[in-house]
Every structure is written in C-alpha cells, then in structure tokens.
Amino acid sequence: MMINAWDVVFFFLAGLILLSALGVVFIRHPVYSALSLLVNLCVTAILYLSLMGAPFIAMVQIIVYAGAIMVFFLFVIMLMNLSKGEYQERTVPWRLLFGVGAAALFAFQIFILAGEWRGVLPPGARGFGVKALSHLIFTRYILAFELVSVLIFVAALGAVALAKKKL
C-alpha cells in the first residue's frame, strides 16, 4: 500500500484543526481561546490553499477572519478586562453530560447520512481560479452579492447604534 503525500498533508492539517478546535472549547482564559480559534482559521485557510485548490477563498479567510473578526473579538475581550473571576467559570457535570449526549446523537445522525457520500476527491492543488468565481458572483449571484453588501451596511449601523451609551 502506497502512502500518498497529499493524504499525509490532509491528516496533518485535520489534526491541527481538531486540536485547535478543542483548544477553543476547553481553554479557560478567553484570550488563549480566541488565539486558538485564530490557529484553527489559519490552518483551515492552508487546507483550502493546499488541498482544495481555492487560493482566493484561502486569502479571504485570512483577511476576513484573522484580519477583521479575530481582531474584533480580541479587542472586546481586552476592553472588558476579564481578568479576575469572570473566566473562572465552573462547568457543571450534568451540563457537560447533556452536551456530550446531544453531540453524540447528532454525530450519529450525520454519520449515517455521510455514508451516502463516499466519493473521491481529485488530489493536488489544481483547482478553480478567481476568474470562474468572480464570473459566477457577478452574473448568477449578483442579487445575493448586492444583498450581502446591504446586510453588512445595516450590521455596521446596528453595531454602532447598539454599542452607543445613549442613543
């Protein structure tokens, strides 16, 4: 049996993704938790770049998530100065048990569904360029694209209105 190099890359990246996701959930300190999510998103971008052949999505992932959203989260965490007491939350055992049970049930359903989807992905980094993506965005999905811009505009206005001390 021959070991494909792309498979090794996949399992390495998948391991990193799962490890950092565990870090997000189980690290107590909010700043470390947010940094763990940052690792998760960056490794996912590497996965898109190396195995999915989607360089544009990988760059957008880095710019939007790592550049905008994570800075935002870290800013709010540091603004609130959650230093003492606030992040020493206790996880009640039955709550954890309920979470694990619900997650296991959901996983069971998804895995039954996933049995139908065994397909083969072509390996390697050859994929779609920006050209095909942008052509599709600006022709077939132009309405959704414009609506997303309206959504972001409204969200920015709403964020300012909500965070103001006195409206």
Binding site: L22, L133, A155, A159, A163
Partner: protein
C-alpha cells in the same frame, strides 16, 4: 485508502460538533461566540469539499457569503455583548436572567 469526501465530511462534522459542544458547556458569552464561528468554519469546510468533489465553483460562492454573514454577525454580537456588559457588569450568560429590564 485515499482521502475522499468521506474524510472531509468527518472533519467538518467534528469541527461543527466541537463548536456545538462549546456553545453548550461554556458560560462566557464571548467564548460562545467563538464557538459559533467554529461551527460556521466546519460548515465552510464541507461546502468546499462538496464543491471540489462535484467539480463546480458554486460551493466557494456560498462560502464567501457565509464569511460575509459571519462578519456581520460578529459585529452585531460584539455590540450586544458590549451593551450587556455595561448594564450587567459581566459577560456570563447566567447574568441574563430577566426578560425585561
């Protein structure tokens, strides 16, 4: 055994489940938001894998839209958490125990 769509599905489901688990077990509102981003990321991985296996580019378009919605959601969520912190003096969701203030 080569890596196929099944392995990507497993990865995506596991990331989604870890996000859902975090949403249930953590009590800090900011960490719950981080876990929601984790769930969105898991869904994105599945979209990308499906787009790759079907040979179409439309999954990537959906991923772009999901990212835009995630950005909008993060902005609104952080504004709500800021205002919540100002009125309750903390970000633990146990403090949100009144329907009307």
């Amino acid at each position: 055994m080569g890596v196929g769509l099944f392995q990507y599905t497993v990865l995506s489901v596991l990331v989604f489940l870890l996000g859902a688990l975090g949403l249930m077990v953590r009590r800090n509102a900011i960490i719950m938001f981080l876990c929601m981003e984790l769930m969105l990321n898991g869904v994105n991985i599945l979209f990308m894998a499906l787009a790759r296996s079907k040979g179409t580019v439309e999954g990537q378009v959906i991923v772009l839209f999901v990212m835009a919605v995630a950005a909008a959601e993060a902005a609104i969520g952080m504004a709500i958490i800021t205002s919540f912190y100002r009125s309750r003096g903390g970000v633990g969701v146990d403090r949100a125990d009144l329907m009307k203030w």
